[in-house]
Amino acid sequence: MMTVKRDAMNAVILLAFCGLAFYGSTLIPERSLGKTEGDFFPNIIIGILAVLSLLLLVKSVYAYVTSEKQQRAEPKTSLKERWAEGKKVWYTFALFGAYIFIMPLAGYFLSSVAFLFTLYLLLSSNRKRLWLVLIISNVVTYVLSFIFQKFLLVFLPSGVLF
């Protein structure tokens, strides 16, 4: 039943997204440069998406209403449990966000070493030989930066703080 409720919510999110997209398409200026305007195709797609989202909403609500009562009440996973299960994922996302936020400031090298090391700490329960992990983080970061800057001529952010 989780999925049914979540799908109803997803449908609402999607409808809101359609609204945003439609607002975006009204911002497209008409220049009469060709036979069709820039908002011609987007509006078709937004329309189809809105219809599909409505269908999903109707379908999930219908499934909820017709489902048996006890089934409806049964699997109650609390928010806490779900958080516990997905905790590491959200930490990883947050860590990743922090990493790419810091990279232009602290430079590629320092931020990447820190990222590799912290993510390892987050994902692994093994706390032995952390110095080795740190060495490997350094080596990986340095080797990759060497390859990128020397061979691929991609100049990585050097940072503004140092």
Binding site: L33, G34, K35, G107, Y108, F109, L110, V113, L130, W131, L134, I135, N138, T141, Y142, S145, L153, S158, G159, F162
Partner: protein
């Protein structure tokens, strides 16, 4: 012990990162420039005309500067994305930008909030003229035929152009000059435009000299007019638009610019080096193969040229109704 190891390694990475960020010293003013590879940002895809011309420039410039010159393609947004990045780059002469007329176009059309003079122009390098081409099955043999037909039935003749870029200017100018109306169909990129002409999906389109030669020889295209002031040496039989009563000349002028506030000494050194490139025989030969004319201008002349170019572009856009 382990903690110490950790601290040591962390310290090590700090030192390493400090080393890697040091390097670009700012005191070098021209004298020792260039001490490291110079990067030319080409804000278009690899493989196009602009890319090819600038890669040749880079190769020749390498000899002059005795330093690596790297072409970096940062394409997208009709050249705006790459230009934006050069705009934000350090003005140390190590990041240069390949520019052409589309920059003025993008600014005037409101696609970019910067123009030529938000950069430090260095030199003009080449000018390229186009040919108006059509499929051999179509009834027209020159632009006069086209104009006559279009007068009778406005918008019946389709013209492929990438709308919002300089290639749109050509049909727009012809329309105004001849007082006719085309049906301009948006085709982004030279390759798609060529295919559309060869397959006769559209009636008219512009092609470069080098490409036009091949397609005409294989009887896959007819060439109706040339956009230069005078006839091209390659096509003595193709009349200019002017000769056919259409008062239009149109060229793509390609040059090199640097971020604003690049030290004068460096700009001068670059401009001199580019002059040597432009005057070298090998460069002129290769430009001829690419169907472009070498039209070097030094920094001062180039700035003046760009000022005039911007005014002309504005007028063209206004007269052709693309800009109110």
């Amino acid at each position: 012990m382990k903690k110490m190891m950790g601290a040591l390694i962390l310290g090590g990475s700090l030192v390493l990162s400090a080393c890697s960020s040091a390097g670009g010293s700012t005191e070098a003013e021209g004298e020792s420039y260039p001490e490291q590879p110079v990067q030319i940002v080409v804000p278009w895809d690899a493989g196009g005309d602009t890319d090819a011309i600038n890669r040749v420039i880079a190769e020749e410039l390498e000899k002059e500067l005795d330093q690596d010159v790297i072409v970096k393609n940062i394409s997208g947004g009709s050249g705006v994305i790459g230009a934006q990045q050069t705009l934000d780059a350090k003005p140390d002469g190590y990041t240069l930008l390949a520019i052409h007329d589309s920059m003025a176009m993008s600014e005037l059309m409101g696609q970019a909030d910067f123009g030529y003079f938000d950069f430090q122009p260095v030199s003009l390098m080449t000018s390229t003229y186009d040919l108006v081409a059509t499929h051999p099955e179509n009834p027209w043999d020159n632009m006069e035929d086209v104009v006559a037909d279009a007068e009778g039935d406005p918008e019946s003749i389709t013209y492929a152009a990438s709308i919002g870029s300089t290639s749109q200017l050509e049909p727009a100018l012809i329309q105004t000059a001849a007082d006719i109306q085309f049906n301009i169909v948006g085709y982004e990129g030279t390759a798609k435009r060529m295919k559309a002409i060869v397959a006769n999906d559209v009636h008219l389109g512009s092609v470069s000299i080098a490409a036009g030669k091949e397609y005409m020889a294989d009887d896959r295209m007819k060439l109706l007019g040339y956009t230069g002031e005078e006839r091209s040496a390659e096509f003595p039989d193709v009349p200019t638009l002017k000769e056919q009563g259409i008062d239009v000349t149109s060229a793509v002028s390609r040059g090199i610019a640097a971020p604003k506030d690049t030290p004068e000494a460096i700009v001068e050194k670059l401009s001199d080096a580019l002059q040597n490139v432009a005057e070298s025989e090998s460069f002129q030969e290769r430009m001829e193969e690419l169907g472009s004319e070498v039209s070097y201008k030094n920094t001062e002349e180039y700035v003046q040229f760009l000022e005039e170019n911007e005014v002309e572009m504005k007028e063209s856009l206004e007269t052709s109704g693309l800009l109110e």
